[in-house]
Symmetry: C2
């Protein structure tokens, strides 16, 4: 039985790959696991059937037999732990790769989300023009630290891992702001992620809204 | 050899337990693992020696032999996977507990962090008085969904797990705002977490700044 994930019936970004189902699709493609996609409308996401799967009324979810998961980080980790290709075999290297997943989601993404929120939810507020540069500077601070750690390495800790998958996915949300390009090694890192065949397949699939 | 964690030499909250070392201390207490604490000053956190351990210049870190980790989520998961007491044995229940860890850190904490940031980093800005209610409403939206899911259960998914440890820790940051008390079942849930002997030990230890 193939796992089933959910994705937006109409993605708010119009297919740019920024919705969180892309992260899960990418992980499934990296490990060669076929999957089924169920599209969910904005209306249906807030209905009891979907809230039973995802208490916060979002996508993606992951169903496999009688297992149901939500949260892209948890789903990617679940996939990575059960297939070869996304986590190193060495226990210490594995723990470090998982550390980068959490760093992407809990340290790097929050200021990026705040920038996105400022534009989308507060774009019409009188303070936004003056406030946006402050928020952008908080993003730059994190990116400066990440850039210093990455240096001229290809990936964050040795070979490509679920940590890189998640960090690249988070950084991709910044491209439209221009901030990513202020850090050439991070822009090149993101481009390396996007050049992976599995990413390309995942990106194409989310554009077609299919698995 | 005991694991060593880092904590603030002087915690910005003056010992209220909101710094992220408390989450790691709590996990170590739940599983009965003694540990050593190394205190780090704000100055030293931005120096190369600490940045080598934690690229974002924060606490906590976790060192055990030649393993070095950062990110409280990753550290708690590492501890939970290697000791009994924080993750169920059943594989599906285990994956769901880990899902709640990610939900705490990537879905519930970001709007709470935004509220904290608005007060601390933008408290002196002319827009903050008008903007704070908007940010608080985004927190309420998430808490409403979480409250609906928790219902009258003691914990998020069966027995207490690392998912509850992380969710309670995240919600504790809200108490000062008064928003937590608008959701009585969540306030009671947090109180259940705080009543656990392991939490009490961790809280007392962070106040003393010791392991």
């Amino acid at each position: 039985m193939l796992p089933t994930i959910t994705a937006f019936e109409r993605s708010p970004d119009g297919g740019k790959g920024l919705a969180r189902d892309t992260r899960v699709r990418w992980a499934l493609e990296e490990v060669g696991q076929p999957y089924v996609v169920r599209l969910v409308s904005f209306h249906a996401m807030k209905e009891p059937a979907h809230l039973g799967l995802h208490p916060f009324g979002q996508i993606p979810t992951y169903e496999e037999g009688d297992l149901a998961l939500f949260e892209s980080g948890a789903i990617v980790l679940y996939i990575a732990e059960r297939h070869a290709g996304l986590l190193p075999d060495d226990a210490h290297a594995r723990a470090r790769a998982i550390t980068w997943m959490f760093a992407a989601l809990n340290t790097v993404e929050p200021p990026i989300l705040e920038l996105v929120t400022a534009k989308i939810l507060e774009g019409d507020k009188p303070w936004t023009a003056e406030r946006l540069p402050l928020v952008a500077d908080r993003v730059r601070q994190r990116l400066g630290q990440l850039s210093a750690r990455l240096g001229d390495a290809d990936w964050l800790d040795g070979t490509f891992s679920a940590g890189d998958l998640m960090m690249v996915s988070v950084l991709l949300r910044l491209r439209v702001s221009g901030i990513l390009d202020e850090f050439p090694n991070l822009a090149a890192y993101v481009a390396r992620g996007e050049a992976r065949p599995a990413y390309k397949q995942a990106f194409a699939a989310q554009r077609r809204r299919l698995g």
